[in-house]
């Protein structure tokens, strides 16, 4: 480009004389802009990866906080919290609220009418009970993975019109299913002779089993660290769940059946989770939520650990150490890590 000088300029040049300066042509400018664009394009994935790494670190911190809270609960009561009181009367998540700096909420949560089957107070202690709704409609940051999007169970439904929140962490329900509230977890899943599993101790159970003895009644099963004979470093305490969208119940960790995971399935499996009925979890079929299916005698209820981080799920062991487990983990090892009394030899470098 050239600059035309004026007659009054100090250089005293003629009106018509042109002086050439060294300058960029249009093509050169475009090339420079293109290069800058390419460099930014190179940088963006790295920035996104760094942001995801930060979110993952925060998620790992949540797992650490929750596992320490469970340790503190154990310090107070000398036992681990139950996975949940039956399916609806409060999960570990409600039980440990006072230990994650939510004492006010924890004290407000009503456990008084647990196992009450009839009468006006029947639903009082359920997660949709009037006293509990102020808590179960809130999102708690410590139970929320920053890589996921906070969702709630889309009303209306049999629980009313409340927007009951979903969260991201589940306790270890062992290596089998937990179909039957009358007997605790399934003793086996699939055929143990050909790839199935045998229950070998769990730190958490969806408890409140219905005892058929006379008189029949509910019982709650607790475990403590002394029951974890495989060692707390070799036994899973927590893993991730995802917050599904819509009226899918997965992620609704106020509810006992999805408050724990089974290691029968590998993490982030393409296999469907198994709940009471397909209508509880797979109504969209558009692939937004992971697949799910209703349970049968051949296929008991069990929910896989699933996370939003690429390549695997984050877990906390019973000794409060936090580990990232890849989807490719040897399944036999993954299952061994969930048993508390399996007697497996576990290599430390999983």
């Amino acid at each position: 480009m050239a600059k035309q000088t004026t007659s009054t300029s100090r250089s005293g040049l003629n009106r018509t004389e042109r002086k050439h300066y060294s300058a960029f042509t249009l093509v050169e400018l475009l090339v420079v802009i293109a290069i800058i664009g390419i460099l930014i394009a190179l940088l963006l994935p790295a920035v996104q990866a760094a942001r995801e790494a930060a979110r993952r670190a925060q998620c790992a911190n949540n797992l650490k906080q929750i596992s320490l809270a469970i340790h503190n609960y154990h310090g107070t009561y000398n036992k681990l919290p139950p996975g949940s009181y039956s399916s609806v009367w409060g999960s570990w998540q409600a039980i440990i609220l006072p230990y994650v700096e939510q004492a006010a909420m924890g004290e407000q949560y009503c456990f008084d009418s647990m196992f009450v089957m009839t009468g006006p107070s029947k639903d009082e202690s359920s997660f949709w009970g009037d006293k509990n709704l102020p808590i179960t409609t809130r999102h708690f940051a410590v139970f929320t993975c920053p890589s996921d999007k906070p969702t709630f169970l889309c009303p209306p439904g049999w629980w009313g019109t409340a927007q009951i929140t979903k969260h991201n962490y589940m306790v270890n329900y062992g290596n089998t299913g937990y179909t039957n509230a009358s007997s605790g977890p399934e003793q086996t899943y699939g055929d143990p002779a050909s790839g199935g599993t045998v229950l070998s101790g769990v730190p958490f159970m969806m408890s409140g089993g219905w005892e058929k003895s006379t008189p029949p009644g509910w019982k709650t099963q607790y475990f403590s660290f002394r029951d974890i004979t495989d060692g707390t470093s070799n036994t899973l305490m927590l893993a991730e769940s995802i917050q599904t969208v819509g009226d899918d119940f997965r992620g609704l960790t106020w509810w006992g059946r999805v408050a724990g995971f089974s290691t029968y399935f590998p993490p982030n499996t393409s296999q469907p989770d198994v709940l009471q009925a397909e209508s509880l979890c797979d109504r969209t079929a558009d692939g937004t939520n992971p697949p799910c299916i209703g349970f049968t005698t051949a296929r008991p209820m069990a929910v896989a650990a699933r996370g939003r981080h690429p390549g695997g799920v984050q877990t906390a062991m019973c000794d409060s150490s936090v580990h990232f487990i890849t989807n490719d983990i040897n399944l036999a090892l993954w299952r061994a890590l969930s048993t508390s009394q399996g007697g497996e030899s576990v290599q430390a470098d999983y």
Binding site: G195, S279, I293, P310, G311
Partner: protein
């Protein structure tokens, strides 16, 4: 400026190509995509699940998928490493009503009815072999009546 144009542009393009092509998560287990169709008594099984358990070796992986309208598909990322697998198929009787009584204040929910006979399921002896680099397409015909 000429120097800039001649040297920097190819370098930038090469860097871009590297970013776009490589650096994926990789596939250390050499997983293969698996797909197929499942029919029951000649008609596509509208809903169910299929599971592949390693056969004759340690259960190091477990794969499966939901069957929708008679078809199933497992993507490579979650697929099966080459080898032999035992196949199990399960299908609850479709129930699209919203269950109400099953949420605790009962001694546990009742299971849905299993439509698939045990010989395709708990007592299955169906073995398939997943082969590296081939189209691993497995179709299954379920017959509810033994003949």
């Amino acid at each position: 400026m000429k120097l800039l144009r001649v040297t920097l542009l190819p370098i930038a393009l090469a860097a871009l190509a590297t970013t776009v092509s490589g650096c994926g998560p990789g596939n250390p287990l050499n997983r293969q995509a698996v797909s197929g169709a499942v029919a029951m008594d000649g008609r596509p099984l509208e809903s169910g699940m299929i599971e592949f358990t390693p056969h004759g070796r340690e259960v190091d992986v477990l794969c499966g998928a939901k069957i929708r309208d008679g078809k199933y598909k497992i993507p490579t990322a979650q697929g099966l490493p080459p080898g032999k697998y035992l196949v199990r198929i399960s299908s609850p009787v479709a129930d699209n009503s919203k269950p109400k009584g099953d949420f605790g204040p009962t001694p546990g929910p009742r299971p849905n009815i299993e439509r698939v006979p045990a010989r395709y399921n708990t007592q299955s002896d169906i073995i398939v072999e997943v082969i590296d680099g081939q189209a691993n397409h497995f179709d299954f015909q379920i017959r509810t009546k033994s003949d």
